[in-house]
Every structure is written in C-alpha cells, then in structure tokens.
Amino acid sequence: MADTKHNGTAAYDLASNGKVDGDGTGQNGYKVIGTRPVRPDGVDKVTGRAVYAADVQMTGLLHGKILRSPHAHAHIRSIDTSKAEALPGVRAVVTAADLPVAEDKIEDLGEGAINLKYLSDNILAHEKALYHGHAVAAVAAISPHIAEEAVSLIDVDYDLLPAVMTVDDALADDAPILLDTLRTDAMGEIGAQPTNLASFFRHQRGDLDAAFADAHLVVERAFRTETVHQGYIEPQAATALYSADGQITIWTSTQGSFAVRGQVAEILKIPVSRLKVIPTEIGGGFGGKINVYVEPVAVLLSQKAGYEPVKIVMNRADVLAATGPTSGSNIRVKIAVDVNGKITAGLAELYYEAGAYPGSPVGAAANVSLAPYAIDNLQVDGYDIVVNRPRSAAYRAPGGTNAAFAVESVVDELAEKLGMDAADFRILNGAKEKDRRPDGVQYARIGQIETVQAIKNSRHYQTSLEGKYRGRGIASGYWNNWGGQSSATAALNPDGTVNLNEASTDIGGTRASISMQLAEALEIGYEQVKTRVVDTDTVAYNDVTGGSRTTFATGWAAYDLGQKLKQEMKRRLADVWDVSPQDVSYEDGIFYAGDESLPFVEAANVVQREEPLMASSTVHPQDFGPGFSTQCVDVEIDPETGKITILRYTIAQDVGKAIHPSYVEGQMQGGVAQGIGWAINEEYIYDDEGHLLNASLLDYRMPTALDLPMIDTILVEVPSPGHPYGVRGVGEVNIVPPAGAIANAVYDATGVRMDKLPISPANLLEAMWAKEAEAAGKPVPGDD
C-alpha cells in the first residue's frame, strides 16, 4: 500500500517546515530518515564562502579564453595565431593541432558512449567547424581581458558549407554530410554510404498491424520539439595545475570527477594516475556537466605556457552556444484503443537531433515513450541524427520530455474521444508489476497507477476550475533511474562522530541524504556524521551524480559503511568484554552483552584504544527501481498575446522512501519548473544559416519566480525493493510530464491541440488563429 503525504499550499505550515522534527514518516521506526535537517554545506552556501569552480585562485594563475566558430558548418582552411601570440601578456595559444591524434574507438566515459575522435573534435575543431560556437582555438594570458583581446586577433580562414539544422534537413536526399566517416548503424548493420543518420533501432512486440486494423478508435499525430538547454546558473569553469613531477591537478565544476579524469586522460593521452580531479562546489548540472569542455584545453594551455596554472571560465553566451543542449525532435505517435478504452496498440517514431556528433538520448526516449501503459502490441523506432547544432548532452531524464509530450497528448485525445476521465483512462491502462517497458524489460514493483490515483484524489483535481480561457491537463511520465558504482570510506572519531568521504558531487543536498543513511544505519544523530565530497585520489572510482543515482547508490554505500563499522565495533567490544561477538547486541545507540552496556559515543573511544577504526565500501547496486510521476496543471491563456499563465500545479511522484523530504520535494519542484520552461518558452532560435540568435538569459527565457505558482507535491512512497531503505531515484522523472500536461491544459482552455514545443505566445496564437480560421471556413493563415 502506498503511503501518500500531501504538501499542499493550503496545508503548508510555515512554522513547522524545515525543522528537525523527529520521524517525519510516522512509520518504520526510522529516527533520522524522513526528517529535514540542515545540509552540512549549507552555511557556506548562504554566506558566500562555498568555493565554486570560478572561485579557485592561485599564484601565477593564467586565464584562458576560447575562440569559437561564427559559422554553423565550415571547413577550416587555416588558422593564423601569430598576432595573438605577439600580444603582450599572452602566454600560449593552442588549436586542434596541439591535441594528440584521437583513436577511432567508442568508450563510455560518463553517461553514454562516444567515439573518442568526436570527443576530441568537440574540444577543438580539427578540419571542420560543425556548429556556431564550436571551439577552434584558445589563448592563455595574464588577465582574462588580455586573453579576450588575443582571441579576437586570431585569423581563421573558413570555407562555408550549407548548414544542416533539423531532422528534415539532415535526412534530405541531397543533404550536406557533416561527418565524412559516419555510416548508419541499423541494429548492428552498418550502412555503406556517408550519412547524417547515425543509428536506427526498433523495439517491437505483438501484431501491430492487426491491432490497428481491429481498433475501436485510433489517434495518430506528429509533433516537433525544439532544442533546449539545461540552464545551470554557473557557467563551466576549470583550473589546471602542473606539478614539477608531472602530476596534474584539475579543479572543476562537474557531476563526475572520475568522468572528467577519464575524458581528459583519453583526449590528452595522459595516464589517469597522473591526473587528480578535485570537484569544487557545482552550480547546477542537470546532465550538462558530465561532458568536458574546458578541462582539456586548460591542461593543454598550461603545457604550452611553461606549466603555469591556467583557469578557464566560460561566459553565458558560450555556455548556451557550445555546451549542453538536449535534442530537438520530430515524433509521430499512433495509439489504438478497444471499445472499453483499453489500449491495444502503440506506435512511436522518434527522430532526435544529436547535434554535431552521434549520441542523442533517443534510446532512453524510446523507453520513456509508452512506458506508463500496459500495451501488448507495440513498436517504437528511434533515429539518431547529426545536425549543425552543439553536441547534445544529457538533460534530466534525457529525451523523456519530448517523447512524453507526444504520447501524453495522444493519450489525452483518446480519453476525450472515448468520453473518459483522463485519470481513469490512465488507471485503466496503467503499467504495473510484471508489465513490460517498450524495450521488453519487465517491471518489478512500480508506482505508476498510484501516482495517477494520488492526482485523482488530490484537492487540486477534486476542485473544479472555472473561467474562460482556463484549462486543466494531466500527464504521466517514466524514468528508468540508475544504480551505478559508488565508493566511500568512513573513519570513526574517538568522540563518536564519523567522517564519511565520498565522491558523488553534491548538486542538491546529497551530503545530507547520504549522512542521514549512515546515521540511520548506526542509530546515531545526523549531526554526528560529517560527509565530505573528495577528489579522485582519495576514494576508488565513482560514477557521476546523474541518473538519479546518488542518494540511492552512494546512500547504499553509506548504509554498508554503517553495517561494517557496527560489526567491527561489536567484535572489538567482545574482546574487551571477553564474550563472543555474537553475544554483543546493538540497540537504540547502545551496545549490550550480558550485564555490560556502552553507548555508541563511549564505545567509539573504547574500541579504538589499540587500533583506529575505518571502513570502506564499494557498491554497484543493480535493482534500482524506476520512477513514475503524474502531474496536474491549471493554465490561463491570454487570447490577445498567447501568453500562458500557470495557475496551479500538483505533482505526484513515486519516490520510494523519501530520505530528506524537503530535498525530494525540491527535486520535484525544480524538475517541473524546468519542464514548464521547456513547455512554454525555452528554445534555441537559429537563422537560416545556423547562427544562434538567442544566446543570452534575456532571450533564452527560463522561468522566473514571477512565472510560477507554488508547486504542490504529493510524495507517493512505494518503497523500492532494491534498496535497504527503499530509496528510489527522485531527480529526473519530474521533468517528463510537464510539457504534456500543459499541452493538454491548453487544449482544455482553447480547444487547440498543440503539435509543437514550445507553446510560446507566438506558436499558440498562430495555432489559435488557424483554428478560428478553420472554424470560419477561411483559408488558414500562413498555410500556402
């Protein structure tokens, strides 16, 4: 039975929120889990003392700047750096010619595999500039201003090529080819001709054609979504420092210090043993801080500048033009139902723009697409397509939002045509334990239907919405989550505190959620655990903070450390008390054997009189549970301007067990805010030649506080069977449903079904005018 907790606006009690209020769950007897303590790194972050990547300072520091291509697609004939090198204060200039020759080999160095040749080419363009903003050269100088001047003195001779900007451009018969050596990989079969289609795959089961032929009702629609960016507020920054013995230290803002180490090692052909990566505090990532951009360039510049340290801080325009974004896409969805409203067949065709190199998240998108539904006859096709846009990077549930927008729009239309309530339709068709994901993987215990029930029962859904141009929509979403590898150590202090060293960079309060799991395991207070995020020399390999895995997997390592410390403490106390270790028990923070007893704090001292006590843990948990979320939104449309106002928003999410409920709610609210931006405003705007026109935070319009209401959260706790505390990843699935939910609300408000994102004022007005013209029997404006 799912336990649901409603944190609605009306019921929200300002005075009690945020306090350490004992067992926040009221169940399972947890002492620490379920409470809301202040995070260990909090004070530094509210006082301005926390050190982020751009804050790193050291004596003799040089400043690097990167020259970027002003063209979307061009051959680089030559690069003349002589004027830049002659500028006083300049210490080094590098181009791709300074990079080692990269191997034509595919490796997974973070989240997703990439050919090392492409990885290197994205750092500094070799023969071609493949997008507006592609790095072509870099300078190190004694001040950032001099470096900037020097960059402007570099002459690059370009031979312009036609820009290939969209799926349709790229797949046209006469399309210019971006990568001469690229051949289509169609499920292992390699094509013969140069192409922009990097790969194709198909998941299928049942008899699709028969199911569509026998259907009571079929809805088929085509959709387009635009490129969007993760929008982390801290631009990428890194500092490289050589030591006289050839050791290299890199400070950087990253989701994965080991991922940085691996990528820099491969790109620069340096053994990992010579690289130490120190993760600074990280100012947001959302998937966009896994790929390296500036780290190898800083090392390269340092080498060429006589091994002086070099820092590179990106500016916002470069961040938007050259890092991140996630794929724009063309999607076709066709779903059939029988007379009872049961889905009998589903088809999704997903065409994803990978950017300049293969590797869009279309694979993950395929699994998201029809995941919330139990469907016997199914086909999902995925196409990974290169275009002259920046190399796409992971973005929170990568690929999921696009696919769910399309599927949830069609599902809403089916429910409407059947005359069914949108929630009831989703409950009738909801996937549950033993049903299969689009790729065939069978679900263990999941909470999809529970999230729909939670929305259906919410005050929000139960309260009717009045008013013209107002509408309500709901949508569901799925995300796979991830386990990954984590390592950590715990040293027991003689005063009964524990120092926990782990390597998962803390983007959203994970030091707290990891500390809490060790405290729970040891039955000690949260404040007795001090969790630090350490560098790559201090613990063993650790995967990125991504895939919603950190509280799950690194938290598991913390649990494991607790068990190990407890066991060793029992063994040592048995020696002290002259009993066998099995006779020592531990309860409520006190060790017992016969008449002997010792509280944890005193035991910590006693057991370390002869020998210090430290534990280490490495984990690779496989049974991470997937996450589901169903969301409800009310919107109001301004018919004059097309602007959408979000009136009310409620999220129900299957969160497994919420370790720190405030940070779980924060993940849900933050993911939804990003999804709202994606749905109604955010997009990369290019001209016909492929120049990015909106590389600023004024024109790339992310939601502000004024654009959003309070976002209500319903934590549906379906404990994951794959974790000792039932933890499920909570970071990503929340961004999957918003675009679909908002599109459905817009339909409810206006009668217009939007077939593209963003539902920006201009796009919505055009669609509304087209509908009015159609209703009046007039030609549709703009439709030649």
Partner: protein
Amino acid sequence: MANKTAVETTLNGEETTFLCEPRQTLLEALRDELGLIGSKEGCGNGNCGACNVLLDGVLVNSCLVLAPEIEGRSVVTIEGIAEDGELHPLQQKFLEHASLQCGICTPGFIVSSKALLDENPNPTEHDVRLWLAGNLCRCTGYDKIVRAVLDVAQNNA
C-alpha cells in the same frame, strides 16, 4: 596593460581602498581584487542576479557597475549580510526551508531578498515573486525560496 586606479569605498561597513583597472566591473573587483567570491557571475549582463549587491542600499547587478563607480559609496555584499557571526534570518530560513540546491544563485537571492524586506517588511507572495523576478534559480522552482522569504517576513510582523 591598462593603468590601475585607486578606489575608496565602504565595503560591508569597512572603509576600504583597492586598485582596479577602469574596465573592470564591480563584480570583477569584488572577486579578483578583493577576494570576495560570494558574488557570482551567472551571465555577465544583468539577467540572472547572481552577482547582486547593495550600492548605497539600492539593489544592483554588480556585473553592470564599473568598479571605479563605487568611489565614495557604500557596498554591501553577501559577505556583509551576517552580522557578528550570527546568520541573518534570511540565511537561517533559506537553510531551514531547503531553499537552495546547488547554491550558486543563493547569495544573489539573499541579497535581493534583504533589499526587498528593507523596503517592504510585509510583502505578499506576489510582491516576493515580482521582486525576485530578476534572480534566476534553475534548481528549486522558487517554491522554497519564496516560502523562506515569507517566513522571515511573517516573523517581522
């Protein structure tokens, strides 16, 4: 290389003199010349608010002010918000409400919220959202930030 100019100012209540290039922004001077790294650069053109400081009590984007412009004026940065080793109520409530995730925007939000409460000690939710519309946060969806500010205001009342 540009000549440096001396600037006399009151910084977080202390009389301070520093050298900077005329082309350096206040944000650069704070971070690179004065070692005050709490003000952050998220955009460099006044759109994100991560560098917000108070200049003679008025909220400004320090990336849009040239450092020599603060000659003879008073600047308060995030480093000057806590007094006598005690966190400001806004800092305390941001912690209690889990109003920060990555924390990069937090200094700017706290400085901006202080400016709001200095001017309007009892803002409505709408007042808070309107005032903070110049500060971008990508992690939280603003919910817990707005609640923290309203909580401080409620305690003011």
